[in-house]
Symmetry: C2
Subunit: 691 residues, 2 copies
């Protein structure tokens, strides 16, 4: 990778265009922060009126600078931005941090300037962060760059933090002394006019200072581009995403605030989950989990021991285990015997281990040692509520001396003084959490990451074959919903089992011969999509007489609503055992999406569906089946024999392929796909929208 | 109410049995805390060896004390506890706080002593808090009692805080300087051997210093006793419950830690919700909500305005609105016009209002004023992220000067210094939250409380008629599952529509005459409860020949599993449209519980059920219907006409009455209750367990 992005974090020289001598102005505060954090490179301020700013020699114009500029930071008022960029590009500057606001986020006029700037940047082979952003930070000792206007001194940790919102970044920076969040790089991406989450996803893979990636996002610039490196196993580091703008309301706010368009939240949720991207619910969970990845080895399984000096917090921790699908470990007898030698007889040697308020540094350490040696334990949550008689520092510090590969995650509920003492005196500076519920989230996220990573590796070939599907050019259909014949053709090609069917004009119905009864008749009009409201379907018709009567009734119903029956669709009547839905659509950001679940006319009320990227593997299909009610029923409950699950999975896969290979399909659904009393499977109603 | 409970909070004199001169001992630290917090009454320490402790004259024995003892606090080792209590009771002391541990929670021996002590206390007409607890606090200025061993100085607020876990209480006390939690009373209830949550629920109703009740509970001593005062409208104050031990695992921990038995969590959840008791998820939500009730008037509706100086946190707040069923208010044009005069042209005058980082004390105050005057706004969330140029104190303090009846709840994300400044200099000391997601929870809880309170008042008569149901003594059935005849009898009495049915011995089947076909035949054995696994049911039998063949097949199936068909049940065959479940059981703690939802053989997989106390009103029945998928379907979706909902509600009510009036019914279910093609309703399978 070339240096355009690296130079945002590792510049040897920075030019501050718009440096100011006026306190509380951005141009002043930014330079001051750079200076006080101890930037190790060369600082080149530009200000037409000042000789020097904060002791640094000042240049009247950018052109005056003869030194190489690795990174240019622009804080001039917006009317001077474009000129500055022109000059910088002419000088060959390749990395530009544009802090100034007033572009796309304020409307059409701003958007035009922003687009023009981006084009110039691209033409020059340069890269830009911003506009409308808060800056970048690199805490690494030989760089020490805090190019933001929050004058805090962040500490080094192996995390990269990308924030689409400058304010949220600022809030995190404001809180550092209380939250003890640490990171290597911070980037406030603003409008993401050029550099966005996808660039950093790639760049941070190549940077050894970064072990975990954290994102606060309000939108994905291109969701498909974001997930593909995960599918292809090019992402080797855990990625955590706090995605805001979850709801319709949230999306509205996102759009008016940063000019970004949010993807639908269910798609985001499903796809991040499918590809091992950890979606967190809040900042606390994000940075706790980052601390987890940074400081602990991954647990091998989900069997958790809880050690405590008090009941209540332990119970809250146990509650949180079950919420996160973790289990309370069952100790071996050997462990319990060893514990009996240390634990107060009125305490508990079962899990949770209770040392009672007398538990001190020595007993806590020994108990953690014993429990970590138990083969039934994968991770430990050690909780300490500060009582009168025992000081917390030695307890906490001592536990982190236990030699084990298993994570021991600590919660402390001390008097406030503890936090300063710990920060000052702790040699290891390992994380200590505040709430008994925190560690379970962290452990659960680590296990999720491991499991997903394993899946992505195991099913590599399947995933790649889906990604490499060739675009099908066979069909030349007109736009709109496909006709029954077209549906038959494409479904047959992909092996989707369409029920036998025949289209008959109303006037031809009387002369119809040789149809097998019982059958189903449906009225079809090019103007009607959903049929059940119109009573357009009649089932279990046993003879010609019933057929004609039903047809008449359907025509009357249509007339009532001012529609006309163009044709009748005739199918064999199948005795239904189960109704399935398989559907799909093309998400504007994340591409082809597949849906599976309970079908039938109550599908919107029953809400038993699950979605995945159509770039899916066998394990994804299994999971879709296992997480839906209909899937569980089809696999057989209470002694029933399952339906032909392999065949069902083939139909799901075929549907995914059909969607991927035919870019013209914007949406489709098989609803219902019927499982008959004899367990045969038939798609009785297929809608495909062609665009 | 007499003074036995009041004296735990308002004693004029306290005797500390086991006061000690040894630093870090409970007997020393407790007395020190009492002293340093500034207790306004008389302190009477008892210690056989010391002349004085911490400057207080010490008594060798309890008997030596001639003054009246309002409250006795016992901290002696457990072997001396019983004697101390004997002496105190002889002296006529009526309020005893037993801090010492080592009773029920350590097993059988401890339980025996505890039971003996409780009996003595009861016989003497005294009351006891504990054992195994952390003490009590009253922060009211003319009492100032901190009888715990956490030497913090809690501040006064109108909240009562009951903690079943001493440690959790301690953790809260430890954190006070960071969380700014305030309360009037704190009580650590320990083993709840005598005084428990029900006592405080009653007592705090009578105490004007308490406006909101908060509980941390691991179990309910008697759930039915807890909910009845809500049903009868005797509880006039908001009650917040953090109930731990949610899960099976959680319950295990609860039981091993405080010797308490947890109720099943779903019952707890449903019943608290039914009677307007606010169940919170964590300590943060509990105390934030308490601050809400204490400091703000209740919002009239759920239309929320968000005011911010930055996008990100506002989007997180909007996300949290939708999670809590709140809505983003739509401003009037008048409001937007007024806002345009104040808000920066590049900001936003829509909701969320964005003042941009330049928003200062003046604009924030004015914008909050304008928005609070909008008739479409019920409450405001005002968020401030500290930027470089604006100090947070004046912003926050200024907003609380806005004159309005609508709650304005503030979030601040400042540098850490702010919190100390605010605590020191704020005149109003109104709450300021830390996370953009916090206010939505608080508002939602306040709205829930109002809505519930309204329901409890509106349906007072219906609730009371349920509570006053007389025990029915008509039936004298044997224990076990009722026979078909018994089921018919009781169902007929209550108006539950049992389908016509007839029991026939296998040998009598051949001579059966005059049955109407189509019919259903079921094999019945007293040893078999569920039928579908055994293939014991045959449907749609159309003639005698099919009937005999089916009977034979059922008998063969039974034989295969070593069962014997005792009788055949014959019913008309009904074409099923929908399958409903109505069931009920008697919870050991909370009493009679009713269930409604989707019925049929997949009931455990489909999981579409909801429960309520059988002490229910019409609104509860409506809600049961509205919150289930089957309920929505029965009411008619996509143009279908609803079934006879009044009749369905009558059946639910009848089922509740049957359960309440017949104490012998431990559980029952109607599964399925069938809605036929013609919309008639029939219970085709009723099981009732009699105990």
């Amino acid at each position: 990778m070339s240096n355009e992005i690296k130079n945002f974090f590792y510049p040897k020289s920075i030019c501050v265009v718009g440096a100011s001598t006026k306190e509380k102005s951005i141009g002043y505060e930014l330079l001051k922060t750079i200076s006080t954090f101890g930037y190790q490179g060369m600082i080149l301020p530009v200000n037409p009126k000042a000789e020097s700013v904060l002791g640094y020699k000042c240049y009247k114009t950018i052109d005056e600078i003869n030194d190489q500029i690795d990174l240019a930071i622009i804080v001039v008022p917006k009317q001077f931005v474009e000129d500055s960029i022109d000059t910088l590009l002419t000088k060959g500057v390749k990395s530009i941090l544009l802090i100034t606001a007033g572009f796309k986020e304020i409307g059409k006029a701003g958007e035009e300037v922003e687009n023009r700037i981006v084009q110039k940047i691209k033409d020059a082979g340069a890269r830009m962060v911003g506009p409308n952003c808060m800056g970048v930070i690199n805490t690494i000792e030989d760089i020490k760059l805090n190019a933001t206007f929050v004058a805090e001194k962040p500490e080094f940790g192996n995390t990269g933090f990308f924030s689409q919102s400058g304010a949220l970044g600022a809030a995190v920076l404001n809180s550092l002394r209380e939250t003890h969040i640490k990171f290597a790089h911070f980037i406030s991406a603003g409008n993401k006019a050029d550099i966005n989450e996808n660039d950093l996803l790639k760049y941070w893979q190549t940077d050894d200072n970064i072990k975990t990636l954290t994102y606060y996002l309000e939108s994905f610039v291109n969701g498909e581009e974001f997930i593909i490196p995960f599918i292809t196993n090019e992402v080797e580091k855990p990625v955590l995403v706090l995605k805001a703008g979850k709801t319709a309301g949230g999306m509205k706010a996102a759009s008016s605030h940063t000019g970004a368009l949010s993807s639908k939240d269910k798609v985001v949720d499903a796809l991040l989950n499918q590809f091992g991207i950890i979606r967190v619910n809040d900042l606390n969970e994000m940075f706790n989990t980052a601390k987890g990845f940074e400081n602990f080895k991954s647990p091998k399984g989900n069997r958790i021991a809880v050690i405590t000096n008090a009941g209540g917090p332990a119970i809250l921790a146990v509650d949180s285990l079950e919420k996160e699908n973790l289990e309370l470990a069952e100790f071996t007898e050997e462990t319990k015997n060893k514990l009996r030698e240390v634990v107060h007889p009125e305490g508990s040697v079962n899990n949770p281990v209770d040392l009672l308020p007398g538990g001190n540094a020595e007993t806590y350490k020994r108990v953690n040692e014993i429990v970590s040696e138990d083969e039934n334990v994968d991770a430990i949550i050690s909780i300490f509520v500060e009582p009168v008689m025992v000081q917390p520092f030695d307890v906490v510090e001592g536990i982190y001396d236990v030699k084990t590969d298993k994570p021991i995650i600590q919660v402390d509920m001390p008097l406030p003084e503890f936090w300063d003492t710990y920060k000052r005196d702790s040699k290891k500076q390992m994380p200590v959490f505040r709430n008994p519920e925190d560690p379970a989230e962290v452990i659960s996220n680590m296990l999720f990451y491991n499991k997903s990573k394993k899946k992505l590796i195991e099913y590599k070939d399947q995933y790649e074959s889906m990604l490499k599907c060739k675009v099908c050019k066979k069909y030349e259909f007109e736009k709109g919903f496909l006709t029954q014949e077209q549906v038959n053709e494409i479904a047959d090609d992909y092996g989707i089992p369409v029920i036998k069917n025949k289209l008959v004009k109303p006037e031809a119905l009387k002369s119809l011969n040789g149809e097998f009864y019982p059958l189903v008749i449906k009225g079809i009009s090019k103007d009607v999509v959903h049929k059940s409201e119109l009573n357009a379907v009649k089932l279990d018709i046993r003879n010609k007489e019933e057929l004609l009567a039903s047809a008449e009734e359907i025509e009357e119903n249509f007339t009532k609503y001012d529609f006309k029956v163009d044709e009748f669709l005739i199918q064999p009547f199948i005795k239904t055992k189960h109704e399935i839905l398989i559907g799909g659509f093309r998400d504007p950001s994340f591409g082809p999406i597949i849906m599976f679940g309970t079908g039938g006319k109550y599908v919107e009320v029953v809400c038993d569906t699950t979605i995945r990227s159509a770039y899916l593997c066998g394990a994804d299909i299994d999971e879709m089946i296992d997480t839906t009610v209909i899937g569980k029923i089809l696999k057989g409950v209470r002694g029933e024999k399952p339906i032909d699950m392999d065949y069902l999975k083939k139909i799901i896969l075929a549907s995914a392929l059909m969607l991927i290979e035919n870019k013209n399909i914007s949406e489709f659904d098989l609803n219902p796909l019927i499982v008959a009393q004899d367990d045969s499977i038939h798609a009785v109603d297929i809608r495909i929208k062609w665009e």
